[in-house]
Amino acid sequence: MSMQHDAVVIGAGPAGLAAASRLAELGLDVLTLDEQFRLGGQIYRHIEKASDQQFRFLGDDYARGQILAARFRKSGAKYESSATVWQIEPDGSICYSRHGKSKRIKGSYIIAATGAMERPVPLPGWNLPGVIGAGAANNLAKEAGLQPDVPLVIAGSGPLLLLEATQLIKKGAKIEAILDTTPQIPPLSAAPKIPPALLRTDFLLKGVAMMQMIRRSSVPYLKGVTDIRCLGSEQVTGVEARQGDRTLTFDAKMVLLHFGVIPNTHIFRQAGCRMAWKNDQRYWHPVCDNWGRTNFERIFAAGDGAAVYGALAAEYKGELAALETARCLGILPEYERDALAAPLRAALKKDMYPRPLIDALFSPHFDATALPDETVLCRCEHVTVGDIRKVVAEGVHEVNEVKIITRSGMGPCQGRMCGPALAEIVASESGVSIQKAGLLNIRPPLKPIPLDEVATMDLGPDGSGPANLFKNQSK
């Protein structure tokens, strides 16, 4: 396979598939890399292998992925599955690992469509076996047709939590309780957000239908829940929580947690993209222009990895990034790019109407002060919230310094699981702003790669040595 491409798209979810299809349809040489062994990203996971029963169960929102996948296959875009990108550079260089071999290739442009992840919110016992993400359980259902068959509790907040709950109710799972941590009285800030949302009644009706199904089921649905802890020593055995003055306890062999989704930003941070803090949703995202271009000319961000707006918006944004890339490559004149972009921008606008309301209703309300000291924050290195508090109390108020002292964020996940909460804890304990508390520095490789693989890798077009691939790994 050639080492130089017009564009390399990273991620084969809705954003990546749409971007790659459009570029290939315009006659460009585009390679799509995704670390999953099948295409579809998170929402359309397993789309090309799904059974009729899965299509019936998951409905139109899932079936849309089939159209995208078929378009992608037909477009002639090249695609490598099981391809983990572990470094990108502003000049378009990309290092990735596939089946135990790494290589370095170049794209004139990179469209990084790496998607979102479930917001990791530490709570006591969240690292016990049997405690998994609600979105993760959804992944298991799509990928492998797995359905929980033990008593379980669903806890957290957000539309995906309710979606997973309704799917499990339909399947007859043994749900002991749904513990919703969304505050009982919707925040006042939600009220002005309602009118634009009314323009999308289809969307609102979906939400209403989900709530009705939950309320009509025999599953206890508790709102305004706080202080959740998962109980057990070797495996989860139950959940304890509070609702007002009441202490609630449930037996459970499985707990599904979900606190919304945030962009998966490691690749942008590794590249050195400028990042911005979105305060209402409490996450960092790469700064982009309205085509998705980051501060680097050759690196675009598309989809939920750039900011979380859901699958349809991801698709439109992937396509917009592709149109601008095609213009840069001299394939489309500006007026044609704009003509092709106009219907996409209109669709995007319509799709976004309900978003301010959803964001306001489910705005994150992580209270770092409420976490008990013994809560494990960093799973990889077993660092507790108390360990962080101690260091902050000694006057260390920046996350990378806290990381060096406590090792939080130094394990194989590179702070993917502890980073967001680490910053919240440092900020709330020290009183500095979250922007000042900072963002963990990310160095290549983005994922641990065996050293012998790096030593024997194919270095690609300009053949520079691996020595400068791992700069400054100490921090």
Partner: protein, 100 residues
């Protein structure tokens, strides 16, 4: 823990030294969960058992030795003849031996 809605074609693997049959067409992590094997490893830092948490390559709780290398079981498709070692019987096995 989980039940599989439709059976898939089984593959034979060597799991922790024992010949075992796992459902195919899915990740190693999903295949293990489907057969009730919920512990994916012992945490190298605390020695406590872990199970897959994110199922999308983020958390590294599913890290195990697959065909000689530490791999994320949730991102690796289960294959006929795979040799999978979770090292869950020995305490404090150095899980990072091969990883950079």
């Amino acid at each position: 823990m989980f039940k599989q809605q439709h059976p898939t074609k089984a593959v034979s693997v060597l799991l922790d030294g024992r010949p075992s049959s796992l459902p195919g067409g899915m990740s190693v992590a999903a295949a293990l969960l489907a057969t009730g094997e919920i512990v994916s490893r012992l945490s190298p830092s605390s020695g406590k058992p872990c199970s897959p948490h994110c199922l999308m390559g983020i958390c590294y709780e599913c890290l195990m030795e697959i065909d000689g290398y530490q791999r994320q079981a949730c991102m690796t498709e289960v294959q006929e003849g795979m040799v999978i070692n979770r090292n869950i019987l020995k305490n404090k096995e150095d899980q990072h031996e091969h990883a950079a």
